[in-house]
């Protein structure tokens, strides 16, 4: 709960405010801010709160300007009104807390001045100056916020017209004749508690969730062997199985990826006399006439390359139009660009490391792969999480997680092909995170089993 205000809760009346905003303010007033604000009928209020973005706001404020009571204006855009404090939307508890203290001061000042002046008060230069830091702070805050729906970023500030209306108020006597006395606002319903379904006895409708059995365990294991090989663990660095990327399709795929990214143009990769792939960096997609799960594609990736077997080029506009038309008619063959490189790397490496990799060098996973769109294999999440958390060699990761090395090597090769590792030894230290707490391990484990177990509860 927030601190007690020095002078007790500020008695406020809520003017033009949408039901939703009203509900949220009341939520704050009844909880963390209950010692700062108290919602009262308008006649008892020391200050008003109004939503400047509400259609009735201008009229509401105009009617009350002669009362010499301070206001808190809530609005998306900065608003400067006499005797008002602006709080930018979205609201924060800090802004509301600060506003409570400032309004207390402003109310005291207005009360003493109201005895001296017959006309509605306009902030003095000193007061305006004293508010500047708040406005600047709020403006800085505002710059950081997303625009609300329906309000373009370049929208004109709506407070300008509003301001001129207030400054040009008629004399109090005239107001008394022309403007009907303000109607007391209805007493707001202050919730007595926060409604939390977790603590409430409400009917919950159970959902039946079928178990996803699109792949059998045998099919899955067979695929994992194709992607990660079957090598046993090794005891020393010298025994680690290596492959030479230049001897495989993978090197051409990586070259095609590089060209595509640098040129930001679609690259045509010839795979055989009849099959090809398109790498489309603008869309972040690849199109492959071969199914990447097919035996044919696996063999293409596995077998050493023959001279002239693969080729790549940037198609001219006529060719590109024809190719893109074909791809659009075969949307099932479209896949994430990273997914294409990922699967090509895995099928080539089969759980081996690329020759030239410094096996004992500590590296860190800079960015997680897009695992929802990439082919999976055992322990992939744990490998990503640990490597993201601390710099380590591939052998360290396998050892720390007590998992077969081939899965870590497979991850290394594929993630490396996507440039997801931080290799710069100077930057590694700053990436190291605190050692994770293990206090929830049992609970997390049961949660994961429950999630991955499909419909079983």
């Amino acid at each position: 709960m927030l601190k007690h205000s020095k002078t007790g809760p500020l008695k406020v009346a809520l003017l033009a405010i949408s039901p939703h905003n009203r509900a949220i303010l009341e939520f704050f007033f009844s909880g963390a801010g209950r010692n700062l604000f108290r919602v009262v009928p308008e006649a008892e209020a020391d200050a008003f709160i109004l939503d400047h973005d509400h259609p009735d706001a201008k009229e509401d404020w105009q009617q009350r300007a002669a009362l010499h009571k301070p206001g808190i204006i809530l609005s998306v855009h900065p608003a400067e009104l006499p005797n008002c404090i602006w709080i930018p939307k979205p609201l924060t508890s800090r802004a509301l807390t600060d506003a409570a203290d400032r309004v207390h001061e402003l109310a005291a000042s207005l009360e003493s001045e109201s005895h001296k002046a017959q006309r509605p008060l306009v902030n003095s230069a000193a007061e305006v100056a004293s508010e500047k830091p708040l406005v600047q702070h709020a403006e800085a805050h505002f710059r950081d916020l997303p625009q609300p729906f329906g309000i373009p970023a370049h929208a004109e500030r709506s407070d300008r017209k509003f301001r001129s209306l207030v400054i040009n108020l008629p004399d109090e006597e005239d107001m008394a004749e022309d403007v009907p006395p303000p109607m007391p606002a209805p007493v707001a319903d202050i919730p007595t508690r926060v409604f939390d379904p977790a603590e409430a006895d409400i009917p919950l409708e159970e959902v039946d969730r079928p178990i996803d059995d699109s792949f059998s365990q045998e099919e899955a294991e067979s695929r994992w062997k194709a992607l990660c090989g079957e090598q046993d663990d090794v005891q020393s660095v010298a025994e680690v199985a290596l492959f030479t990327p230049e001897n495989y399709l993978l090197s051409t795929v990586l070259e095609a990826m590089r060209v595509a990214k640098e040129s930001q143009q679609t690259v045509y990769l010839k795979l055989s006399a009849k099959d090809y792939a398109l790498l489309m960096p603008q869309q972040g997609l690849a199109y492959c006439t071969l199914d990447t799960r097919s035996e044919e594609f696996r063999i293409l990736c596995n077998n050493p390359v023959q001279t002239g077997q693969f080729a790549l080029h940037i198609p001219n506009s006529a060719e590109l139009e024809r190719l893109e038309q074909q791809a659009s008619h075969d949307a099932d063959a479209l896949l994430d660009l990273e997914a294409f490189v990922w699967v090509g790397s895995l099928l080539t490496a089969r759980g081996r490391l690329g020759r030239g990799v410094e096996i004992e060098q500590k590296i860190s996973l800079k960015y997680w792969p897009n695992l929802t769109r990439l082919e999976q294999f055992p322990h992939i999440m744990r490998i990503a999480a640990l490597w993201n958390q601390r710099p380590a060699s591939a052998l360290d990761i396998a050892s720390a997680l007590a998992i077969p090395q081939r899965y870590v090597f497979a991850f290394h090769t594929a993630a490396n092909a996507l440039n997801l590792f931080e290799m710069d030894q100077n930057k590694l230290k700053s990436r190291e995170k605190e050692k994770p707490k293990q206090e929830n391990r049992g609970f997390f484990s049961r949660f994961l089993k429950r999630l991955l177990g499909g419909g079983t509860k």
């Binding site: 039901p19 905003n21 009203r22 509900a23 949220i24 939520f27 704050f28 963390a32 979205p90 609201l91 924060t92 508890s93 509301l96 950081d144 916020l145 997303p146 625009q147 609300p148 729906f149 319903d189 409604f195 939390d196 379904p197 977790a198 409430a200 409400i202 919950l204 409708e205 159970e206 959902v207 996803d212 603008q282 972040g284 997609l285 960015y367 997680w368 897009n370 695992l371 929802t372 999440m381 744990r382 990503a384 999480a385 993201n388 958390q389 995170k433 994770p436 293990q438 929830n440 391990r441 609970f443 997390f444 484990s445 049961r446 949660f447 994961l448 089993k449 429950r450 999630l451 991955l452």
Partner: protein, 181 residues
Amino acid sequence: MSSMINRKIIFTGPVGAGKTTAIAAISDIKPVATDEYASDMTKSRKPQTTVAMDYGLIRLSENERVHLYGTPGQERFDFMWDILTKGGIGLILLLDNTRKDPFQDIRFYTNAFRDFIEKQQMVVGVTRMDLHRKPGLVEYRRYLESLSLQAPVFEVDARSHKDVTMLIQALLFSLDPGVIN
């Protein structure tokens, strides 16, 4: 009899990013809109207002539950989120790739939940990438890095049980890679 263990996962993000749908994709119960229930329960009493949240539930056992909360998307009040995140395991930030400036959404939500993210963990799911490919995940990763945030970023279909489950897996493993599944 052992006491009940309750944990929370918070789903946040702008309106339309798929928070309610994502909760529905993994919840054991049909998601509850809290404002509706609060109104129903207080019909016969003094009218009571509440902030609209979505609520789902995963039961692990008789004594263990994971509560899934979706924050209101359009109105952003961090004081409410402070209350909401108490006892939370982590944050799932869902972003709508068709929004005009999803990076501004990232900045807003990561600012609002900064303390919680630093204490726990955040995972980002980008929805509607099938409708709008730009920005790509590479841009999201770099943007998060520019904010000094490390978080998994996945393309997701909020309707997909598999995709939402992956977000939660990434959350749990990020908190403790040593968890055995």
